[in-house]
């Protein structure tokens, strides 16, 4: 590149510059007109940019306020959700007689299938579970727990009875389950603490009534028994029923 300083290059560069100056330079009047138009355009553009910047600043302020508000909202939502999860966890782990036992039973009810055989099976499973809890409470001498489990059991019986009305198959399933349960309840009655005795006796009486209801003809006259319908199990013998103080007089079959 030493040739860059060649004097003939200098001469050539001068020639090129002179060529541009004479052949390519703008007409001063045209340049003046373009300049005037551009300055006017620049004025408009700068004004518009200032307006836009003002609006942008306003939008930023509003957005920050919105973020703050939504941040608080989401914080509260997250806290509520966290508390709900914690509460649900504690409730689901609670045992019969605990303060949140009622919440647990309610949660189970809320989580039941919407209807059909699945719901009927789930109801029976829940009754079984309550009886297990009841037995555990009786074994440990927990009268409150036994009473709570018996009350919950009774509530499920009512719900299951309501759902089975008009459906022979479900009625039969319920009748079989209740018959088993009455036997268990009767057996527990001899061990139950006094504070829970009334609840268990009540559960036995109500279960007996429920057996009578589902053991009778279908409440819905339109529902006909299936041709291959199995024979119904016999109604529980009234002699098998408990003869607690509140029940013995009220049970003429005894």
């Amino acid at each position: 590149m030493t040739d860059m300083t060649d004097p003939t290059n200098d001469e050539l560069e001068r020639l090129l510059s002179a060529y541009a100056e004479t052949h390519l330079s703008p007409d001063p009047r045209a340049a003046e007109a373009i300049r005037a138009r551009l300055i006017r355009e620049a004025g408009f553009a700068f004004d518009a940019a200032r307006d836009e910047a003002r609006h942008r600043a306003l939008r930023r302020v509003e957005q920050r306020a919105r973020w703050r508000r939504s941040g608080v909202r989401y914080g509260l939502l997250a806290a509520t959700f966290g508390l709900s999860v914690a509460f649900t966890g504690v409730a689901l782990a609670s045992e019969a007689g605990d303060p949140l036992y009622g919440v647990r039973v309610w949660w189970e009810t809320a989580m039941l299938p919407a209807g059909g055989d699945a719901r009927a099976s789930a109801e029976i499973s829940r009754m079984d579970a309550r009886l297990v809890e009841l037995a555990a409470a009786v074994e440990s001498g927990n009268g409150n727990g036994a009473a709570a489990a018996a009350a919950a059991y009774q509530q499920i019986v009512e719900e299951a009875l309501h759902g089975a009305v008009g459906d022979d198959r479900r009625q039969m399933q319920l009748e079989d389950a209740l018959s088993r349960h009455v036997e268990v309840l009767t057996a527990l009655l001899s061990k139950v603490p006094d504070s829970a005795r009334g609840s268990i006796e009540h559960a036995i009486v109500e279960s007996g009534k429920a057996i009578e209801k589902v053991g009778g003809p279908s409440a819905d006259p339109n529902v006909k028994p299936a041709p291959d319908k199995p024979a119904r199990s016999p109604k529980p013998d009234s002699s098998a029923r408990p003869t607690g103080p509140g029940n013995s007089q009220g049970n003429p079959g005894g």
């Binding site: 590149m1 060529y19 004479t22 052949h23 373009i34 300049r35 551009l38 620049a42 553009a45």
Partner: protein, 188 residues
């Protein structure tokens, strides 16, 4: 450029802040070089003036996005100008070489001197036609628009050393062509 780089950068900052006067000063500094560059590539004078104006309008719109860090304003502006001309040429296909470019013959020289110069210019124009596209572009940017090698490098998106090399080879090729022309004339 009659204005130094620091002044240019200050004017750019003022224009970015919304000062039309500063933008007018930038126009004054760059209008001539931009016009000469466009005129060296476009044949039709009204098109040249329209394109020159369009380039400054684009610069006005893009000015808020310009950042001085490492990029001289002249290089940035000429990159914009170059892209605008390339787009124009692509869309209109009405481009002309230097020998067809706009002609404003100087009126202040004596007729015989002017005639001699005219002869030189015609020979230069003919010699430019023999350059490669990149060599030709470097000549336009460096000698017609008056850009520094660094500004030309930014405008062409190349290294400064590459620009110097292209310029060296372009001048050598021009000189060879012109010398050859002199020889031919001597023989005739």
């Amino acid at each position: 450029m009659t204005i130094d780089d620091a002044t240019i950068e200050r004017l750019v900052r003022e224009a970015q802040a919304g000062d039309p006067w500063a933008f007018g000063q930038l126009f004054d500094a760059y209008h001539g070089p931009i016009h000469r560059y466009v005129a060296s590539r476009i044949r039709n004078l009204p098109d040249v003036e329209d394109l020159t104006q369009a380039i400054f309008v684009k610069a006005l719109e893009a000015l808020p996005r310009y950042e001085a860090r490492g990029v001289p304003f002249g290089g940035w502006l000429f990159r914009l100008a170059r892209n605008t001309v390339i787009d124009h040429v692509r869309t209109t296909r009405r481009h002309g070489d230097l020998d067809e470019a706009v002609d404003h013959p100087s009126l202040d020289a004596a007729p015989d001197v002017a005639a001699l110069r005219r002869l030189d210019y015609d020979r230069v124009a003919g010699a430019l036609g023999a350059l490669t596209a990149e060599q030709h572009e470097v000549i336009r940017l460096r000698f017609f628009a008056g850009l520094s090698a660094r500004e030309a490098a930014i405008a062409m998106d190349k290294q400064e050393g590459t620009i110097r090399g292209l310029q060296f080879r372009a001048l050598a090729a021009l000189r060879r062509t012109l010398d050859q022309g002199d020889g031919d004339e001597g023989e005739t």
